[in-house]
């Protein structure tokens, strides 16, 4: 116990400031800025791997590390689409995940946002379209923001999420500073 406390005290707080939003990632504006501002106060995210190689998942995990400290921004991942405001979808959509992705989208209450992640989510990537792959996420469900990269860095993912939720810059008040 003493070692644990000593470790916590010696490391201190390592969280960094969140990045600014990036309008170039936005694909469409389905919700008014007013709704997004409300949604953006304490948004809940449901991640769906629709066929990813698991590279994007590694960087999504990083969002929860103490440096990016996603929860410190009031954003958290939830276990059910029914609790979610935003779907974070990775991968080219495999044929086998098509039904699961559609159902997850339908189970998410309105108003909702979708962020497609990674080169595969944006374009189908190297996997493209085939007998087993439907390619980009927007081929299956509507997408609001698309974040390219293979895999996109946590900073880019965070930019995508923040861009989807709001056009305003997160302020220091959002972080409780």
């Amino acid at each position: 116990m003493l070692k644990t406390l000593r470790q916590i005290a010696s490391i201190g707080i390592v969280s960094e400031r969140p990045p600014q939003t990036d309008e170039s990632l936005r694909v469409r504006e389905s919700l008014s800025e007013q709704i997004r501002t409300v949604l953006g106060r304490a948004p809940c995210i449901r991640h769906v791997d629709a066929g990813s190689c698991n590279g994007c998942e590694l960087e999504i995990h990083a969002l929860n590390n103490p440096l990016y400290n996603l929860e410190g921004l009031g954003i958290r991942f939830v276990a059910s689409p029914r609790h979610a405001d935003l779907l974070l979808v990775t991968g080219p959509v495999s044929k086998h995940m098509e039904v699961a992705l559609r159902r997850t989208y339908e189970a998410t209450p309105d108003p909702k946002l979708v962020v497609a992640l990674g080169d595969c989510g944006c374009t189908g990537g190297i996997f493209g379209e085939s007998y087993a792959s439907l390619g980009r996420v927007s081929n299956v469900i509507p997408v609001d923001v698309a974040v390219p990269g293979c895999p996109p860095s946590p900073t880019r993912i965070l930019q995508g999420i923040l861009t989807a939720l709001s056009t305003r810059r997160p302020t220091s008040a959002d972080r409780g500073e």
Binding site: K3, S52, G55, C56, L58, N65, E98, E129
Partner: protein, 510 residues
């Protein structure tokens, strides 16, 4: 005949060291497997190849007596003899050859494995020409899960979409109260046609797809692919390139172990572990970006060598970073070892005994926690591992605690290796030119990834094309072990037990 005789009648194959191939008629297919099983050999992979003109073949790779023995048999239309009684992991691989190539075994389990009725059974993706997704409608399916019956038995179905940020797959638990009687896995949800996609890529660009078979093993797969390709093209990569690749591979291993150790602490209710290890992992990824050019080394390995070189200054910086990470991990290990809550959750959970692991052919990291000491870096080493001293890791308890301990041990050893490699990089170029291999040549790459042995079989087509490429992730061998590990444990321990294996869905589903 014994294994020695099959080896002596075999020919050398290009690619990884110690790869031999023997072609046998289908009648002898099982005889070879019997001899390998008798000599305590291991099944590394099984796949089928063929084309629309006929001429299908079935291939298996066995690891035995410091050699990798490829056995190939031509297949016409009668079922080939199944190997699932000798090597249980073969069962799912055989079902996959039926789904993708229409090459059937005599195995009793004829349920589809990678095909979920998203395309018709008559369409054989690796034989027939590619078709667009719109040409085939997904049809409803029912999969024949094994039912457990009796007083108080009920089923819990989980997935494919899980509650956390993990890959999709379906788990069907049959439970009484909280105790698990049986778990049946249903995988294949992230099947995205990787093997067919390979045949549409020029052979000199296939390494990019190989790196994305399983993103967490990008280095292992792209190295194995390039090893097969370079061998087939008769190219020797510069020594510096081999050392740089090993540096990448060990960095990948450390990054994954850091991530898993944090997640394992978290799954046992110790959020401190996740915060600390994910901080260390982020530190390594940033050092990797600063010195090796990327956080994740998806495109670091290219045919002929590596995409980038490493300056002496960057090598020192990376060395310093892993030295500090190793020191901090040492402190965290003491905290994990002394934590009563973690010990309670880790010890005895999800046990795979040595006997069971031997029987199932459990491999890689999970195998080393259950007395299976095999490690390609020691037992079938390629450059530069032939020149580097490496300690053999292993435990025999086979529980979550053992898999955690193996990760801690390997983390320290790989940090040491990174420093050793970074300090002894041979001078010279980091890449050389590679041409397309002759049509029909088969090369085999074998690399010990962080999860276990990664295999890539690469058959060249005419004009720089790929005729067939089969990537094989060790998860194929270890997924069945998870079904056994959970028996008699409680349902809430499944996430912990599953994470202690941390198997790939994408690498398995292809």
């Amino acid at each position: 005949m014994g294994v020695g005789e099959w080896l002596s009648s075999s020919e050398a194959l290009p690619g990884a060291p110690g790869v031999r191939r023997v072609r046998v008629p289908l009648e002898q297919w099982r005889s070879v497997a019997l001899d390998v099983a008798g000599a305590s050999g291991r099944l590394a992979a099984l796949w089928a190849s063929g084309d629309a003109l006929g001429g299908s073949a079935v291939h298996a790779v066995f690891l035995v007596e410091r050699a990798a023995l490829v056995v190939s048999s031509s297949w016409t239309d009668s079922a080939y003899p199944g190997l699932e009684d000798l090597f249980p992991a073969a069962a799912r691989m055989q079902r996959a050859t039926a789904d993708l190539s229409g090459v059937y075994s005599t195995g009793a389990d004829v349920r589809p494995w990678l095909r979920h009725a998203a395309w018709p059974q008559t369409y054989q993706p690796l034989i027939d020409p590619p078709l667009p997704p719109s040409s085939m409608a997904a049809t409803p399916e029912s999969y024949g899960f094994v039912r457990v019956e009796g007083d108080g038995v009920h089923e819990i179905g989980v997935g494919p979409v899980h509650a956390g940020t993990i890959e999709p797959g379906h788990f069907r638990f049959s439970v009484v109260g909280e105790k698990v009687l049986r778990l049946e896995e249903r995988l294949g949800y992230v099947h995205k046609g990787v093997e067919q996609r390979f045949t549409r890529l020029p052979i000199l660009e296939g390494h990019r797809l190989a790196a994305r078979v399983s993103g967490d093993s990008a280095v292992a797969f792209s190295w194995a692919y390039c090893q097969a390709l370079e061998g087939s093209s008769d190219v020797q990569i510069p020594p510096r390139a081999a050392w740089l690749r090993a540096l990448y591979l060990e960095t990948e291993r450390v990054a994954n172990h850091l991530g898993d150790l944090g997640a394992l602490g978290n799954d046992a209710g110790f959020a401190f572990g996740l915060a600390q290890f994910s901080r260390l992992k982020e530190r390594l990824l940033r050092a990797s970006e600063a010195t090796l050019g990327a956080r994740y080394l998806m495109d670091a390995i290219v045919p002929g060598g590596t995409r980038l070189d490493l300056t002496a200054g960057d090598a020192r910086e990376l060395s310093q970073c892993v030295r500090e990470i190793a020191n901090e991990a040492h402190t965290l290990r003491e905290i994990y070892d002394e934590h009563a809550g973690l010990r309670d959750r880790f010890n005895g959970a999800g046990r795979v005994s040595v006997e069971l692991a031997t029987r199932l052919g459990v491999t890689g990291l999970a195998g080393r926690a259950s007395g299976q000491a095999f490690d390609l870096r020691l037992d079938l080493p390629c450059d530069p591992y032939v020149q580097i001293a490496l300690s053999k890791m292993g435990r025999v308890e086979g529980d979550v605690a053992a898999r955690v301990a193996v990760r801690f041990d390997e983390l320290q050893e790989s940090c040491r290796l990174i420093r050793e490699i970074a300090g002894a990089l041979p001078a010279g170029g980091h890449s050389t030119a590679v041409g397309s291999p002759p049509a029909g040549s088969l090369g085999l790459g074998l690399i010990e990834g962080w999860r276990g042995p990664v295999l890539v079989a690469l058959e060249a087509g005419p004009g720089g094309s790929i005729r067939r490429c089969h990537p094989h992730d060790p998860s194929w061998q270890n997924w069945p072990a998870v079904e056994h590990a959970i028996i008699d444990n409680i349902v809430p321990d499944f996430p912990l037990i599953n994470k202690s294996f941390n198997l790939s869905y994408s690498g398995h589903d292809l």
